[in-house]
């Protein structure tokens, strides 16, 4: 039996699936595979499940569906695949097919699909995946001595987690202010970047959000868009041009890249001594753009920070929060985060530093749940604390 009609997006990936020689190299650094052990949790196992679905020797059980959503889209398997297969594209294709099938009520018995539907619906209704009210998006601005112009050279695209959890948005804007950057935000007219709907296979919602946000950015007249969330960064930089079918009219930067620009112009001066041994955690979405060095360079600028590197190069590299996993299976996501924290503790770190709100959320809940003696700190908080000319709030 051949199921190509049922899975049109997956069928387009048939050649990639056949190219898989089942060598299992992709398993070596997959955090899901390490955590769950079952072959169905490994990237190679998923490729086999997909081959089974296409060629009819596999069936769509609830565990098959769950396996296909057990992925953080960290991209480690892609880096390890000797056949050069972009597994993430394949895994996205099946998620699109599953989402479309669910819209036709064809998978109504699946608990996991029900969850996916709910999350996407929440996003469509509130323009954020957290279920908060859209009008509360600017709540982080309260009590801030920040008057933003209507148009500016830089738009700080705040993102849902920084906006609603407030701290990261406040820190970023205070840093930008301290550095005299000519910036503004989209205020209450910003909407979710669409990262969650993208990973959950909801193409329509993602497209709508991309169109909407791009229009607002254009209206702001900005030449540069800066994000503090690597998820937003990846959507704006890589996915929006693909979705809209044209090159971006503005430059998209992660805040760590912008800070390096200030550093190189000798405008970023970190002074206060902090005295902390830290491990830096690379958010997956930044590694996909080869942003490894920038955050480390910034850390090295902060007096008293001792950066411990994980030379063993063998431990899991993912926080467990990506690809929608934190929303779909918080237990699994937290276990993965715990493994990463154990690496930091083994290295002797007092704190794990990163610069992604999703990673911070995943690590914070793991540290709390497992009572781990380690601080989780946003790189931007460290920068702000040590800036000589910071604004006190």
């Amino acid at each position: 039996m051949n199921n190509e009609k049922q899975f049109p997006n997956l069928s387009n990936m048939r050649d990639r699936i056949i190219e898989c020689v089942k060598c299992a190299f992709c398993k070596a650094d997959c955090v899901i595979s390490k955590e769950l052990l079952w072959e169905s949790a490994s990237p190679r196992g998923k490729m086999l499940l997909l081959r089974g679905l296409l060629d009819g020797f596999g069936t769509l059980t609830e565990k098959t569906i769950k396996s296909l959503y057990n992925c953080t889209f960290c991209g480690e398997c892609v880096k390890d695949c000797l056949a050069g297969i972009s597994l993430e594209d394949v895994f996205l294709a099946i998620r699109k097919d599953l989402f479309n099938l669910s819209q036709e009520n064809k998978l109504s018995e699946s608990a996991i699909i029900h969850k996916v539907d709910m999350l996407c619906q929440r996003l469509q209704e509130n323009y954020n995946p957290l279920g908060n009210l859209p009008e509360e998006r600017t709540i982080w601005e309260l009590g801030q001595d920040i008057k933003l112009p209507r148009t500016a050279e830089i738009v700080y695209f705040v993102g849902c987690m920084p906006a609603y959890y407030r701290k990261s948005a406040r820190t970023t804007s205070q840093i930008l202010k301290a550095l005299n950057a000519n910036f503004t935000t989209l205020g209450s007219s910003e909407r979710c970047c669409g990262s969650l709907s993208f990973f959950l296979g909801d193409e329509k919602t993602t497209k709508e959000l991309a169109h909407y946000n791009i229009t607002r950015i254009k209206e702001s007249g900005a030449k540069k868009v800066v994000t503090s969330c690597p998820g937003c960064f990846s959507m704006l930089k890589r996915e929006y041009p693909k979705i809209l079918g044209k090159k971006s009219e503005f430059e998209v930067m992660h805040i760590s890249e912008l800070l390096i620009e200030f550093l190189e112009k000798d405008q970023l001066h970190c002074k206060s001594e902090l005295n902390l041994s830290v491990m830096y955690h690379d958010p997956c979405e930044l590694t996909h753009f080869d942003i490894y060095e920038q955050p480390r360079r910034i850390l090295k600028e902060i007096p008293g920070i001792k950066l411990l590197e994980n030379s063993e190069n063998a431990t899991p590299t993912c926080c467990g929060g990506g690809g929608g996993l934190m929303s779909l299976d918080v237990n699994l996501s937290t276990k993965i985060a715990k493994r990463r924290l154990e690496t930091a503790l083994d290295l002797g770190a007092e704190a794990l530093i990163t610069c992604c709100p999703a990673c911070i959320a995943a690590f914070t809940s793991a540290a709390m749940e497992y009572n781990m003696p380690i601080k989780i700190i946003d790189l931007l908080d460290l920068v702000l604390q040590s800036l000589e000319n910071k604004i006190e709030n």
Binding site: K22, C23, A24, L48, K63, S67, A83
Partner: protein
Amino acid sequence: MDVIILSPLENVIIEKLAEIVGEQFISTDDADLVSYSSDFMIDVFLKPDVVILPENTPQIAAIVKLANENSIAITPRGAGTATHGGSIAQGGILLDLTRMNKIKELDPISMIATVEPGVVYEDLNRITGKSGLWFPIEPPSGAVCTAGGMVGNNASGLMALKYGTTKDYVLALEVVLADGSIIKTGKSVLKSSSGYDLVHLFVGSEGTLGIITEITLRLIPKPMHLSTAFASFPSLNGLNDAMNAIYEIRRVLTPAGIELIDLQTQKAINEVEKEKLVPEVEILVIFEIHEFSAAGLEDQKDLIEGVARKHNCNEIHWAKDDEERDRMWKARKAATVVSVRSRTSTLLGDLIVPIKHVPAIIRFIQEVAREKDLLISIVGHAADGNIHYLIPFNQNESKKAFDAGDAIVYKTIELGGSITAEHGVGLEKIKYMELEHGESLSLMRAIKKILDPKGIMNPGKIFPAEKQ
């Protein structure tokens, strides 16, 4: 071997199995049956009836006992990177041993480690490395393959020339036999002449004689100075040039590894990696050398370079640093995978011939490729005579691909070689077992019958069906 497979498994048995390992570690879900249905390269997809992830030896003993009483097939599996279907099961129980991944003891004084079968090769070396010790097999699949699977296949790898194969490091084993009894054979000592060597009966037995549940390994000091070179042999006679250089070098020193890659494979590597990882020449040879002193390393380099150049090597490039070394080996590790990407099926050969016949067998393979109009890529552990050939083919070419494979194997036997040097027999090479082993195959069968009278251990592997 005639095998009785109860399929589908009765529910009552599944319930008993679940009692042994716990509900969480047993599955009959199609997601698990499908995801364990194949292994590296082979285009065969077979589903077991049930997959189990045991935690310890007593659990395995109880599972095997139950399987034996009910004549249920049982197939052990490590990472499933075997190339010939050795780790897949048509019905019965598939035992995934990756949960048993502890290093039970590391004795840095005696230089011995005792491990569970599911420990991953590179994880083991990461730990032993902290004591300056090393299990030096270096299979290209080392980031995922397990100690149990390596013993199951008697795996070797990129450094076999100097360090040998898995069998040279296994000192003792704990094995669950087909009736569920547990035996320990061998000791944590470097030599013994006490009775038959049962340890090495199990090494390379591909799960057909018992489930290995504990492995005691000899370790060696990890050399401090390493270097890797790409040596290019550009002339049309590059194969003879390269092999003559290798023969001459081998008579005076033993490099850790000498690998050979043909032009077709070099091109495929560069294409997939989207950067020029390897030069493109008639024959590319990789030299790996290990030493305990920097001066010794330099001496080896000089010697290799001098001999290679004498045999028309026009460029020899030694890695500048570890990063470059890693890139070079990445290219070699990719070699078996990249050349078969655009095919629907692949035949992967693992022959070994006396090293004086390496040029003859390679020429023969090239001739077969021309005659049958097939693209056959060749990579090999050239200096020990172990050559891998890959025949990618589409459905309509399957007959000529298999005919080509047969012709190459017959030639291998004619040259005094063996059908498989390190990957094992599995499913794919069964048809050649009689040819290679003749009468001694009966003795192998007899041993199998004594240890596994009902034929429940990894059935359908190694042995051709007995003639009625």
